[in-house]
């Protein structure tokens, strides 16, 4: 199935390949055009943005990027987004991966209950817990801190991590750890030294999906942060308010800067992403 059918002449195969390429290129154009156009807008001056008919060829200007990067709040928000995402991703992995392992390998009371509870948390509309979570953080003096955002994101990515990683662990043959146990390794040693290195692709996939969740969230960050701790999506929303709305160049430039890191990261880890999505998903 993976290759084009071997029956038929080579000429027929060539026309088929041509059709496939044509379809793929058409799809790529359709799916990437919005993005390309936005990048284009970010490279136009204010006059060029509103030119009618729209300009398709022009000498690109980087003034919008320069202006965006020169804003102190943009740099601050970028750092916040990085810190919060890194925090949420590492906390979810450190906490969630052992749990996924235990669920895949050991029978214990409440295993199914726990898994179902985690799953249903994945289903829950996040708005339901927004205000109560705020009140909770407030009681511990955590509001407007990055810690509160990290904790909130972790609760959303944990179920994801457990779900994906459980699939990976189940695919791994049991004999590997069992022989380590026989050799005298403790459960933890076997887990860290034998199992973890083998599921690196799963870790990468879980990592990307958690990162995407944390980097892209808007709702929780708006309520849980202040000007010093706000993340990029919140800043984006603030950009668009008020008399800046006609500054399409500035808006698109900041938008491009916001989405660039996740896109680059996903390019780098694209293969693992495919594996991760399918493994976790189907075993669920």
């Amino acid at each position: 199935m993976a290759a084009l059918t071997p029956v038929g002449s080579s000429r027929r195969r060539r026309t088929e390949a041509f059709t496939v390429y044509a379809a793929l290129i058409a799809l790529t154009v359709v799916f990437l055009f919005p993005l390309v156009w936005i990048v284009g807008l970010s490279l136009k001056t204010r006059l060029q943005v509103f030119a009618s008919p729209p300009l398709f060829l022009w000498r690109p200007t980087f003034e919008n990027y320069a202006a965006t990067l020169a804003r102190a709040d943009f740099g601050q928000a970028f750092v916040n987004s990085l810190l919060v995402s890194a925090g949420a991703v590492s906390l979810s992995l450190v906490v969630g991966v052992p749990a996924a392992y235990a669920m895949a390998r050991f029978r214990f009371a409440g295993r199914n209950v726990l898994f179902f509870a985690l799953l249903s948390m994945r289903m829950l509309p996040p708005i339901a817990v927004l205000i109560p979570m705020y009140v909770l953080f407030n009681a511990f003096g955590l509001t407007t801190t990055r810690t509160s955002v990290v904790l909130a994101y972790t609760t959303f990515s944990l179920p994801l991590v457990v779900w994906i990683m459980r699939g990976f662990f189940e695919d791994l043959p049991r004999e590997l750890e069992e022989s380590a146990w026989v050799d005298g390794a403790s459960r933890l040693q076997a887990f860290v030294r034998v199992v973890l290195p083998l599921i690196k692709p799963g870790l990468v996939a879980a990592c990307i999906l958690c990162l995407q969740l944390a980097w892209n969230d808007f709702l929780f960050a708006t309520v849980l942060t202040n000007n010093a701790t706000r993340t990029l999506p919140v800043l984006m929303a603030a950009f668009s308010g008020g008399d800046t709305s006609t500054d399409w160049g500035g808006m698109t430039a900041s938008g491009v800067l916001v989405i660039l890191p996740v896109i680059l990261f996903s390019f780098a880890a694209q293969r693992h992403l495919v594996a991760g999505l399918s493994s976790g998903a189907v075993k669920g």
Binding site: N138, N226, A238, T246
Partner: protein, 427 residues
């Protein structure tokens, strides 16, 4: 830039530091909305304050809904985490129990610095800051809806005087309507918070009202209100003098629409006049004139809404004296004049009527006149629960899905349910 620095220095020098029983905090937490009008406060007043006192102002400026949520959650938890609250008229009811008495605080400032001139603040703005007899904050910005006109276009169309009645307004809109380039009348038609500020002036100018909260009587589907909506929505559905994309307009978009010459007239926020009339950013810069709302059949029936933002100190802060010092500085004459240049509409009579300002900006006397007779946004806590269905009804009428009568009758039915839910008796 020089002028700015000079101002900053003078204001800082004039600031009498709290004498200070209270230990100096590192920062004061300010929670407000992210509207584009406090840049003077953020970029100029706060640095000057920091220079004078060494205290940083920690601004948390949020979009409208999270701003409300943050204040609601934190204040009802009695948390001391906020030192300065910025609130607007509609919030007065529920925020009042959490705030100090600001009449007393104003006297406190006056005792230290009589030149601060508390009587200079417009009576209308003080009324708007008062809920059930208590002054809940110090006015910092007042907003009101006024008419914006491209004067020359009206004259070209043979209309010498600005419209004084709905009928004249309609005729002027039809006369200046030259689609698809420019339309006669602009309004914020997106189903969101701006929709109310677009409709209320027409409701009030028609003698209509929302509801009587004392008796619980619903007035929104009375004949006056229906006539108002019929006229207003009719501009869109019958007269077709409104740009079709106005159905997606909110605050920024109506400004952008004016800047790109999409309408000859509009009813919107007074301070937007500065942005729309600025030749540096607007195609129509320098062409605008302003007037108060026309009335249904006579000019003196014209009424509009009054809203505004207030700076207030919550009961729970530990840094009251320092917060007060900041409010004193931000609301001083010099800083309010400066804030006006950058898009604020300060509530000081001396600033609004300052001849230099009037010639520079134009709309302030009109705004001041509109405020005299304006109706403050209802502040009772139940009101926000009724807003949504009114937005829906207005949107349906603008799209022509329902007649004014049907739309408002449906709103009234929903309000009955809403009032019942809120435990309010209906007359």
């Amino acid at each position: 830039m020089n002028r700015r620095r000079l101002l900053a220095a003078s204001a800082a020098a004039a600031l009498p530091l709290p004498a200070l029983a209270q230990t100096r905090p590192e920062k004061l937490v300010y929670v407000g909305d992210n509207g584009p009008w406090h840049w003077v406060m953020v970029e100029e007043v706060a640095p000057a304050f920091e220079k004078a006192t060494g205290i940083k102002i920690d601004f948390t400026l949020l979009p409208v809904d999270p701003w409300n949520a943050r204040l609601k959650a934190e204040l009802s938890a009695g948390s001391g985490g906020i030192d300065i609250v910025q609130w607007s008229v509609g919030m007065a009811g529920w925020i009042s129990p959490h705030m100090m008495d600001h009449e007393a605080l104003a006297s406190e400032i006056m005792a230290k610095d009589p030149s601060w001139d508390w009587p200079d603040f417009l009576g209308g703005s003080k009324r708007a800051a008062t809920y059930e007899g208590k002054m809940v904050g110090i006015p910092y910005r007042i907003t009101t809806g006024i008419m914006h006109y491209q004067h020359a276009l009206l004259e070209q169309a043979g209309i010498a005087k600005l419209p004084e009645t709905f009928d004249e307004l309609r005729k002027a809109a039809i006369a200046t309507n030259t689609p698809p380039g420019r339309y006669g009348f602009g309004l914020s038609g997106r189903q969101g918070p701006a929709l109310m500020s677009a409709f209320l002036p027409f409701l009030y100018s028609c003698g209509g009202d929302l509801l009587d909260l004392k008796t619980g009587e619903i007035l929104i589907n009375k004949p006056n209100a229906v006539a108002a909506l019929d006229f207003w929505a009719g501009l869109v559905t019958r007269d077709k003098v409104v740009p079709p994309e106005a159905m997606t307009w909110e605050y920024d978009e109506i400004v952008a629409g004016g800047q790109s010459d999409r309408y000859a007239m509009a009813e919107t926020f007074a301070p937007y006049g500065t942005l729309i009339n600025d030749p540096k950013i607007s195609k129509t810069g320098g062409k605008w004139a302003w007037a108060t709302m026309p009335g249904q059949t006579a000019k003196e029936q014209g009424r509009t809404w009054v809203d505004g933002h207030f700076l207030a100190i919550p009961k729970y802060t530990r840094n009251k004296d320092w917060s007060l010092a900041f409010i004193q500085m931000a609301c001083s004459k010099d800083w309010m004049r400066r804030s006006m240049v950058r898009g604020n509409a300060p509530p000081r009579g001396s600033v609004l009527r300052d001849p230099e300002m009037v010639s520079l900006i134009g709309w302030p006397p009109v705004a001041a006149a509109a405020i005299e007779t304006g109706v403050p946004t209802p502040a009772q806590p139940v009101f926000p629960t009724l807003l949504l269905s009114l937005r829906t009804g207005l949107s349906q009428a603008l799209l022509g899905q329902k007649t004014a009568r049907q739309a408002l009758d449906d709103v009234a039915v929903d309000w009955q349910r809403g009032l019942r839910r809120a435990g309010i008796k209906q007359g």
